[in-house]
Symmetry: D4
Subunit: 252 residues, 8 copies
């Protein structure tokens, strides 16, 4: 409820068009809506062409079917569902028009929207084992309306592969750098690019990788400026933040 | 060195205006300029009105004086020096026109530049103990040409103070949320705002704060989307990334 | 054995009504019974209308059936059994009149008692994934004779949901705040309420949540006073302590 | 702002006694004041006879003198200042009537208030090295208006000393159990008493005590019910929570 | 090979009773036999009436059958096999006369030997969940020829149960104290007894027990003297060390 | 108080030689003395010729002087004081006849007692940096009446030095193995000897030694049986436990 | 591209033999080709007689079959595949001539090459549980063309077994020392040998072994010089590095 | 003592040229010389022209002066002393001809020897803060007779600086890669070079660098083969191992 809305209600009361009790009810209905207005704006923006998101982990297919159904009833056209397996996807797809991306373990109801961001987002990762997390980031960004360039297999132990792909890195609006094991990729990219680099550590590795903690610590200690970090394996978080950054121009 | 520059050199050689040896020297001078071109652009941009940065920790005042002198000789007008104490600042100030910000432990040679970013940056923190890190972030951002709004003393244990300051949060281009102890501030802000939130954990606390690790972990696990994290006490990193985000509109 | 009892025995000896040997035997019989009296009182109190508790983890259904049978033979009417799965519950229910709460993984033999506490206990949690732990706390408290108000889905990343539910928080006698991931909920509630807040970290999360350690550390570092913490996923411990606090008025 | 207040404003608008614009201003002015009311109540209660608290760590004596002066100007009579050393205390005492408790490193401006709690608080600790933290807890509780019984030197490696002091433990309203090293004291006390036991781990120890983490973990894993834990060395937190519990009867 | 032996060989060479080549062979034959003599003695002692030990974890039943067969062929009468499950035990029992202790997951080929130690060994533990580790310790000690007194269910949260069993504790030659969760039992026993207390932490617990690390740290920080610690869940190690201590009188 | 004592008191009451009140007082005086009888015995034993111990860390010289004075007044002839520096020792030595062992940072009032143990105790360590901890163990054992053989500079990286000293290892009653860094010494010795090996990790090392945690973990995982571990740098604990083991023969 | 190459191009431009555009193309074509040459050399060397390596973990048998097929098409004769189970090996063996080493979980397509290294590589390990990692190291080294001497069952708790096998240790070119639990083997070997010792910690152990971290830390703190460490369970890494060291003579 | 030597002694005894007693003395003199022969060889080799090493940390200047004096008396010409400060160096230099390298905190008595290794050793590091550790490695290697090429300031956040220095990396016999913070340098170099890369993590950094643990973990998880790791800040260990590798050709 905008300040304008409140003002209208008050004017209506003053004009005797609304009783104090009716005004009370309206004001009570969503008493903290002014706190949430950015979110509401944001949601409205999201609804116009792009996806809402369901975090699938820990939810049954039935629960997801229900939630998605409610969203579609409200007019939502594209819905992103993260962290579901093939079996869950199959059951959802029997009810809703879902396309399943098996590497990313992500499902999308509705059409992938047209990109409307300020530029392109690069999603880079080093090894094939990091691919599921990288794809979660990439498809999240695409489903929210971003053009994504994938740079896979550009790990720092073969630095020439990364250097052979400088063009997209140099022209990106934001870069999501996904890496497990020693987690050095964001540092190297952060030294080459001058846009925000979102580092996503993965749990790929064994022994002293400590389930991704080694990569996480490495990224937090990056000697390159412009690098920030999200949780281990949080491809969605990386893709979502990249989307926000890539749509800042829409706010101005 | 742009491709155009290389082409000009080659043309000059072809036109016999430049000997191969002279061309060699020019090409050798910055042999990896094509790798670094974004950085060079970036540096050029930085040189026009805003600061270069010297990381002061572990450097003697004499070393800093020398580096700053070389920068000024190259035409650099404003130079930010982080992590220096009052004594070092005094010795530098005897040679260069330095202004010292004692809370942030940051010095600035030259004038604070006019803000030329896309919007404003909010730097928020919870308690007075987090102030030095918050100020390092704020002054870094200001020295790089950003308008900064400070929201201090808005810790989550007194949530009404944060809620009473929603206006700047809702209109910011980027938010730097600084917090020690339980590190919850970025999560709460991330749930309210729809712009990138850069979480800076601080080492403020004792016992189970584990030197800031508790706050760091808390931030990495934020249940709010759009939050990413930099190293403990890395106010500079937070302010620098906020600056990059707040100048993305300049790139388009 | 109270000091009065010892005195009586000594007097009886002095009066020749008791031989030294008989006195010796009595004194030897339960030499530490005075240590246990509070517990005995406490147990007696518990037996009057409320539950005894069986910690089900690591016990076979047969063992639980046996223990519960012995309790019922002693006159115990309501018995709470924590951490059992549906299969175990089914087998126990074939012998004892057990009702199973599947979210909490808790079973109750006998009737839920009438609340007789000093006030109400609020059990709050942030996300649906924290629900099993929250329910373990809530049902534990109910089974011990407390009125419980549940505030679920009030996570700090959507602070307005919490703020819309201030009434029960402000009128509770004790609050159990359950949260995983960044674990910020108890800090925010602790800043709003002026009653004891028992923080229960959960193992909900992944990566840097380190199995609930991130939430645990966050809660231990709470910047709000009046917050204390129990073990990760220890919903029973939270509910039990809330019960003790909510029955202190009975002691006076 | 209560619902009644909002209703009054709306009625005034309806009665034309208040213009919509004026109503708007009032509604906007303190939109979250209702959130804070418990705290306000709480503060008011605290001001009536008992202490307000200044966390002294990281504050200069001058800052503390200023804050305390402002409090006294507002009519505050007793002010507790934690974590200050003798030198700071001396400087504050030159301005305000401060009494310094050197073991607890706590200062008190004004008179120690009369106890007005529901019962007594026991503060127990094992060794002389834990005394500073125990005293911080004890004096905090006393300064907030509680009767405190100190049980020092009752460590579990000499269990008979604890058993010789069962009377105060059995009659307390709340127990603060302070222990470093192996941190077993709260478990033993929690098994004897039937009131809330607040465990305060201390950093006393060396090597594998890991700065108090060993004691902290021990306490979190207590096999006794009714035990909860605060941060390492957080004597103030333990004393404060004990105070809240010991004044719950005042709320009814 | 003692210096006397070497001297004899050299004398024999000098006396031409032994050729240099023969001397060389003898010197080469068992160059490290003197290093191993204690072990050889020890083994010899063990073979006289008591068990040898096979660590069963990671070995197939077939491998164990083979090893045990070889031992029996060498005349070994009792053989202890640790960490085997019922299925493995059944297959071994089809070949060798094995008795399986299912709680301890230990099998014994041959008869349990008569105790021949210096005194009794007490194995104490707090809760039923610690029983498997306690039994591994107890049966190990028994199989090596020790009289064992079991004190189970004497956890520190019900200290009177421990105090009611002081007789065996006060008369033991060595005490193995097994505990999970907060691991306080060895500290309390160490404060009561004046014999070596071997602390065995168990992985019993959840959350902040960190797989037994909490109990381990607690025990290492014991404020009682005379306590030492073995690895988590290492009941065998505790029982074995107790056996060595309880047979020291045999060495004199 | 023995059962015989209680019987005597009761008889005296029965004989009218003692009033019930006087009996009460006597019984009350030391109500748990029967719990402590071993300790009392133990103390008595200690007083006969050997040392009592004052843990000096965290005590002022004045406090130590006072405690030692009280002990000497009670007839104690030798008093061991651990963890004091030269300055403290000098001040104590001005009042009491103290001899200071500067490497061990231990002081001894009175004469070093004649050894009266069952055998010898070996204290072994690897490098010169471990010497202070090894000496604390050695002098503790000596001051309690044990014959100690020192084997220093026998680290595992020069295994021949250890092997050249097998005689004392093979004939010891108990071995204290002190090691920092990789902490392998107890494992190697435990494989050679058949007596209890008490492993004392030290904080010697840097980086990944983590303040002695690396050595501690190494020792807890020793593949040799008969090894147990005390806290990092706890030379006193190692020496004290060795003393108990070396005097078990006195108990029989 | 060497400086000489660039000079030639520039001279050609100056001589009008090359147009600026053609020069531009050449300079742009493979700007990083010089970066990759060592690898190319290295690969070429590897292809001559020895194996290429496929890291099997996380790859399906079908993927491995495809990769191996492509390699064989390129003329590769021996291919090492690490971390595959029997089932995967069987499926691959249906297509390619694969021999499976089940302890090492390694498969080899083609013939084991003739050793052509500078000397021999010793692979040593302590217990049978470490065998899989040791075999991974040994077969990796063999498949890359090295002569390997296996010293298994030489753990430090039976030091005489190691000392009885000094000959191969003293004559090796490089030693891979594999150990779990306390991880002391590399320290002891490093003190005996004067060649590089590559320490491979294993995850063998339980409790305080922390999944191999105890052994890892132990090895990093080795008091012997010449020891370096690879990741936990990284037998391949140990064998590969040993191969590089054992072929350095080929480079000269 | 070689087997040939023993044979000669025995023959001399047989030939009556040596008495048994004399033979005994010779055999006794170095009873484990056969174990240590490599070391003896090694030491002999070291004495011929290159340095012996004194680990200076924890030793007084006087102790170092004494040890160095003894070495020089035995004919040692160059002696390396690590981890001493300027003051200690000055005192030593008053007695012995010492040259102090202040960045490395290393002193050298005698002349720097002529390089006699198989090739060159590259010591690389990223930032100026890592220089002390890098210099410790470099001077250690030089003092042991190796040619060292220093590549400083080649951190991964400015990858072009590293790429501009490929020549020495591609022609080195061994590379020591020193890095703090995110520790990525060894991974990048390991991907470029085909010789052993010794990774030396440094404690440079703050917050989440955890005193060098972040860099250490990063290096242990290197995705490049041929990389192994030594302890944090262990420049000496890196330089020493590089020396061993660079002198392997001397052994053949």
């Amino acid at each position: 409820m905008s300040q304008q809305d409140i003002r209208s209600i008050l004017q209506a009361v003053s004009d005797q068009k609304l009783s104090p009790e009716e005004a009370m009810t309206r004001l009570k209905l969503e008493p903290f809506q002014d706190l949430g207005y950015a979110k509401v704006d944001h949601h409205r923006e999201l609804r116009q062409g792009v996806s809402e998101v369901i975090y699938g982990a820990g939810k049954t297919p039935e629960q997801i079917i229900g939630i998605a159904g409610a969203m579609r009833d409200r007019g939502q056209q594209t819905i992103l569902i993260t962290r579901i397996d093939q079996a869950a996807a199959d059951r959802i797809a029997a009810v809703h028009p879902l396309r399943y991306y098996d590497q990313a373990k992500v499902g999308l109801i509705g059409e992938m929207p047209e990109p409307d961001g300020d530029g392109t987002i690069v999603v880079a990762c080093g090894g094939t084992s990091d691919l599921p997390v990288a794809e979660e980031a990439a498809i999240t960004a695409e489903a929210l309306g971003n053009k994504v360039v994938r740079l896979y297999d550009v790990g720092v132990s073969g630095i020439h592969r990364l250097l052979a792909n400088m063009e997209p890195i140099m022209t990106a609006r934001c870069i999501v750098a996904v890496a497990g094991m020693e987690g050095a990729l964001p540092s190297v990219i952060g030294g080459l690019a001058d846009v925000p680099v979102i580092a996503v550590p993965t749990s790929v590795g064994y022994g002293a990788s400590l389930g991704g903690v080694a990569a996480l610590l490495s990224m937090l200690n990056s000697c390159a400026s412009g690098v920030s970090v999200v949780n281990i394996d949080n491809g969605f978080g990386g893709g979502y933040l990249a989307h926000i950054i890539n749509h800042l121009g829409k706010k101005a």
